[in-house]
Symmetry: C2
DNA sequence: CGACGATTTGACAATGATCAAGATGTGTGG
DNA sequence: CCACACATCTTGATCATTGTCAAATCGTCG
């Protein structure tokens, strides 16, 4: 899915270069909800969260994105960003002006389909967020989240792992739309029942699922 | 947003015609999650719901779509349908084979952008579903849902109305991810407080919001 | 009218939020 | 390398919200 991996340098050389490779520290702000910057981002390394803020001030993480993901794509339709984007780790992204990307699209029509499938990827994830991570008890949602993170971990290193890397409880809770405390209790319960086993690296858990 | 409204008959005449205008009764099944039919739909009249079923059997309505909406678009990427689509009222849709639509896109490139903005529309609604309709107490979510339906009502007839048409409580509850009973109680509470007033048509409520 | 489905209400149990306190981890500077 | 300060996570206690089961009411349609 990496967007530009199939482009040769020669494909890009002639373009006036508003393509930047950027590195952000953990917890850096890439853009804020409402910003209109006409740039889209592609992740090379690291993870980010997309947060949506309501008028009353409450926050919710609506997406978690890792290597290969394309985000900020609403800019392609000249819309302001619908989310606030924040890095979860040291992050390398490639940032490109929408004008440039559109020019590239005209020259390489296959890029078009590629972007479309990123869009569909977002939509499919969003639907999953609704039906799996926002429906039912915190317990079942937590399990869904863990399997989701396991998948992420799995296709991150190609192999079927059986481990989950936790983000902060604060973030995990905000993904599920619950409180830190309730999430913590749920994890404790799963540990007690032997479904989760903490490894040396405190942020990594091992899974002994029969899932669900 | 109506997809084909700008096409003349002459634009379409030369095409082998796998475009159908279909009418469905209330509560009709258009397609089921998992079906692969390579067709997309555009709504002329009426509303539908998109439902996602989890492996454990639980259901959640993830989208509500009305006149002008384009749905089933995952078919454009040759994917099976991610949802089950069911009409909420008597429904008129236009159904078109993806092959045909792709051909039209090649001939009329502006169609491309139009489809893209439908995609973005879905994504934006999905994000709202997560942050507004799936976060917080049932009370606040219910209010968000009512304002959402008011908006729908409003741009349905162009005028700023102050009324909401209810779907069945079962459906409203499934939009919010709560139980019929809890939703019913919430509505009762809003009626008691004078925020909602039932009209002669029992399905239509009047709103005396300070929304917030 | 009568029957069926939808909605409302009640009672109770289960789940989750919140506030507070303690424990554990992490990073920094000495 | 240790010690302290700060952040994060855990746990407890309590209260509010929500789910569930059951019964009653309302509405609609034949």
């Amino acid at each position: 899915m990496m967007l530009f991996s199939e482009l040769k340098d020669s494909d890009i050389d002639h373009i006036l270069k508003p393509i930047n490779n950027l590195r952000y520290a953990e917890n850096a702000l890439l853009y804020s909800q409402g910003d209109q910057e006409n740039k889209v981002y592609s992740i090379r390394k690291g993870y980010i969260k997309l947060i949506q803020t309501q008028s009353n001030g409450s926050l919710r993480i609506v997406r978690l994105l890792g290597p290969g993901a394309l985000f900020g794509i609403e800019a392609l339709l000249d819309k302001p960003h619908r989310h606030t984007a924040i890095s979860l780790q040291e992050l390398d992204v490639c940032r490109i002006n929408t004008a440039t990307l559109k020019q590239l699209e005209r020259e390489k029509p296959w890029l078009n389909d590629k972007i479309l499938s990123h869009w569909e990827q977002h939509l499919s994830t969003a639907d999953r967020w609704i039906s799996e991570l926002s429906s039912g008890s915190v317990r079942s949602r937590s399990l869904k989240l863990l399997t989701y993170l396991k998948e992420v971990e799995t296709d991150r290193n190609g192999i079927e792992t059986n481990t989950v890397r936790f983000f902060s409880h604060e973030d995990m809770a905000s993904i599920l739309g619950t409180s830190r405390e309730t999430f913590s209790r749920t994890v404790s319960e799963l540990k007690d029942k032997g479904i989760l086993i903490q490894t040396n690296d405190k942020h990594i858990y091992q899974f002994s699922l029969p899932i669900e």
